[in-house]
């Protein structure tokens, strides 16, 4: 077919000043191939390094965009007109600028990340973005363990870890970043060693501190993304508020027994944690994992979701958990999802936000007031003192307010089991004429039981075992298992 190609002004210098070139071709692609073989200089303006038409080069056949036809395979008829029409684009803070600022990858890194590199969604560009990124993990517990390990393995260039705890044996059932040899070590040290072993090409920054209203803003400012792996409400609200105030995305996860939640709270793009829960639950209503238990694998699943979302945020993926709350139930093996909406009246990210700086989160969550109420009326005894008094032959009745399954794990000899939930109803089983020591795992539930009994009118003397059966094991009888 003999066809005519119209050349735009800008490219005429490469066609000897001609506005039209006539040639023989059966398809549009063939016509452009002929044209660029006739006029070699044209090629670099029409095609990119990968031999694809540049994105801003538009080709029309008889006024019809070939993208709406068969692309370069669009057939040509005798005396058709092919037009090359530029679309003109430009602008600042571009991908191209970012591209040059991204760190490069060594051959060793290229081999390491090869399974990422061959996927177009990541590729060299995405892998370099991961290397350029920084993520701050709050906590190296159940959630922080898989988050840190997968982010390190994925090649996130700088990972900050905040924790102040030491590794305890009861952590190892789920916190797979720590091992048996790490018992007693600071968690940040143990986590750092594990992450370094996984990937020596990344930077790990340890922050041996509790996250507080005083240090959170300065810490967050140094990172692109914050991952919340905390297990308590004060820190969760603190992480949320500090993320809103510093404009960082908060990759959220939480776990309890067999159920988990995950979301991305990013005030700039959608709802924050306070849009979902403006106020914390009353203290004691929602038990934590130490009280309620957690399936060891559960944080593995939820943490891996957090790691996935973090990586997607870095890569610029569109379908993140922004404005979505993902619920997971491992016992039913079901995922469910809720849509979230930004609350226009949200006290921190709404239009008329009233919170402009970080507050006292212990107080906000009602945890500060509690101890001031109790000590006045709560009589306590330490495990050591109880042992001594028993040895001296003093008479006590000891009531264990834990659950039967806990009683099976460990118990103090000669005690009576009345779970907290039944203690008022079974008050008549406690002899008010004798001195009574109440105990649980760590001393919190037994204090509640004492308060409940007093309120119900129990007349006898009630003493709380400080530190519960755990303290008994530590101070008196190490043969009693700790859990």
């Amino acid at each position: 077919m003999s066809v005519t190609i119209n050349i735009p002004t800008a490219l005429r210098q490469f066609t000897g000043g001609n506005a039209r070139v006539e040639l023989e071709a059966a398809t549009t692609g063939e016509a452009l191939e002929r044209l660029t073989s006739l006029h070699g200089e044209l090629r670099r303006h029409l095609y990119d390094d990968k031999n694809a038409l540049r994105s801003f080069v538009n080709v029309y056949v008889n006024d019809e965009d070939i993208r709406h036809q068969a692309g370069l395979a669009t057939p040509l008829q005798e005396s058709d007109t092919v037009m090359i029409v530029p679309s003109i684009a430009g602008g600042v803070t571009s991908e191209a600028d970012v591209e040059t600022a991204l760190p490069s990858l060594s051959n060793e890194e290229i081999s390491r990340y090869s399974r990422h590199l061959i996927m177009p969604e990541v590729g060299m560009h995405g892998q370099r973005k991961l290397k350029a990124a920084s993520v701050l993990m709050i906590g190296t517990g159940g959630l922080g363990a898989p988050v840190g390990m997968y982010l390190a393995a994925a090649g996130v260039g700088r990972i900050g870890i905040v924790d102040f705890d030491v590794v305890e044996v009861s952590n190892l059932q789920r916190q797979i970043i720590h091992g048996t040899a790490d018992l007693g070590r600071p968690k940040i040290e143990s986590a750092r060693d594990r992450l370094r072993d996984i990937n020596p090409h990344i930077e790990i920054e340890t922050h041996d501190t509790r996250l507080t209203s005083q240090n959170a803003l300065a810490l967050f400012a140094n990172y692109d993304i914050v991952v919340d792996g905390t297990d308590n409400f004060p820190t969760r609200y603190l992480v949320n508020d500090a993320c809103v105030l510093t404009g960082k995305p908060n990759v959220y996860g939480s776990i309890f027994r067999f159920e988990g939640q995950a979301s991305v709270f990013w005030a700039k793009e959608g709802a924050c944690y306070r849009c979902l829960y403006s106020e914390p639950p009353p203290p004691g209503l929602v038990p934590n994992c130490a009280e309620g238990g957690v399936l060891g694998v559960l944080p593995g699943i939820v943490g891996a979701i957090q790691a996935t979302e973090t990586i997607k945020l870095i890569l610029g993926a569109e379908d993140t958990l922004v404005n979505r709350l993902l619920l997971f139930d491992a016992w039913q093996m079901k995922f469910r999802e809720f849509k979230l909406r930004k609350d226009p009246n949200c006290p921190i990210c709404g239009e008329n936000a009233t919170i402009k700086e970080l507050i006292d989160y212990e107080e906000f969550c009602g945890l500060r007031a509690q101890p001031t109420e109790q000590p006045a009326s709560l009589e306590e005894i330490t495990a050591t003192e109880l042992r001594e008094r028993l040895n001296r032959g003093q008479d006590f009745q000891i009531i264990d307010v834990r659950e039967p399954f806990e009683y099976e794990i460990a118990r103090i000899g000669g005690t009576k089991l009345i779970p907290l939930g039944e203690v008022v109803a079974r008050m008549n089983e406690i002899d008010p004429a004798r001195e009574t020591v109440m105990h649980c795992k760590a001393g919190v539930r037994s204090a509640k039981a004492i308060a409940a009994l007093k309120q119900a009118g129990f007349a006898g003397r009630l003493i709380n075992l400080k530190g519960g059966i755990t303290a008994w094991s530590d101070e008196v009888d190490p043969s009693v298992a700790k859990y």
């Binding site: 002004t9 490219l11 210098q13 029309y60 003109i88 430009g90 602008g91 600042v92 571009s94 600028d97």
Partner: protein, 144 residues
């Protein structure tokens, strides 16, 4: 070298200020003459075709708009000789993205708009090997 009048410079600056904090863009219509001198006869503002969220950092003139502009130019005895756009809160220097998307021969005028006020206005032309932009001398009125 590119020739334009003070009024045309002001027109580009005003467009940049009007569209701040977004980028503005438009065509430069005029003629190519001997010795590579371009003379602008008319400024042809164009709506920014990018989706709302990308407007701040990018401009795009669609092929349809360019074809319309070219038709207008040809009907009035002119050529499209280049494009202008603004860099909100950035210098009047082409970015990597500009280079990636540039065409040879055309003039690219960039006006810096800092906090809503137009400042520097400079013109650039891409090297034929696509390696970089070279600044082009601007002549205003009787100065040249």
């Amino acid at each position: 070298m590119i020739q334009l009048t003070t009024e045309q410079v002001n027109e580009i600056a005003a467009h940049g200020e009007r569209d701040y904090p977004h980028e503005c863009c438009g065509l430069l219509l005029g003629s190519f003459s001997f010795g590579g001198i371009k003379t602008i006869a008319r400024i042809y503002p164009i709506s920014n075709a990018r989706e709302e969220q990308a407007k701040r950092n990018r401009f795009l003139i669609t092929p349809q708009e360019l074809m319309k502009g070219e038709q207008y130019a040809v009907q009035n005895g002119m050529d499209v000789i280049g494009f202008y756009h603004s860099h909100p809160d950035h210098p009047a220097v082409p970015s990597g993205y500009d280079l990636e998307h540039a065409w040879p021969v055309y003039s690219y005028i960039v006006v810096a708009v800092g906090e809503g006020k137009a400042g520097d206005l400079r013109s650039w032309e891409m090297e034929p090997d696509r390696s970089k932009f070279t600044e082009e001398e601007i002549c205003c009125n009787a100065n040249c």
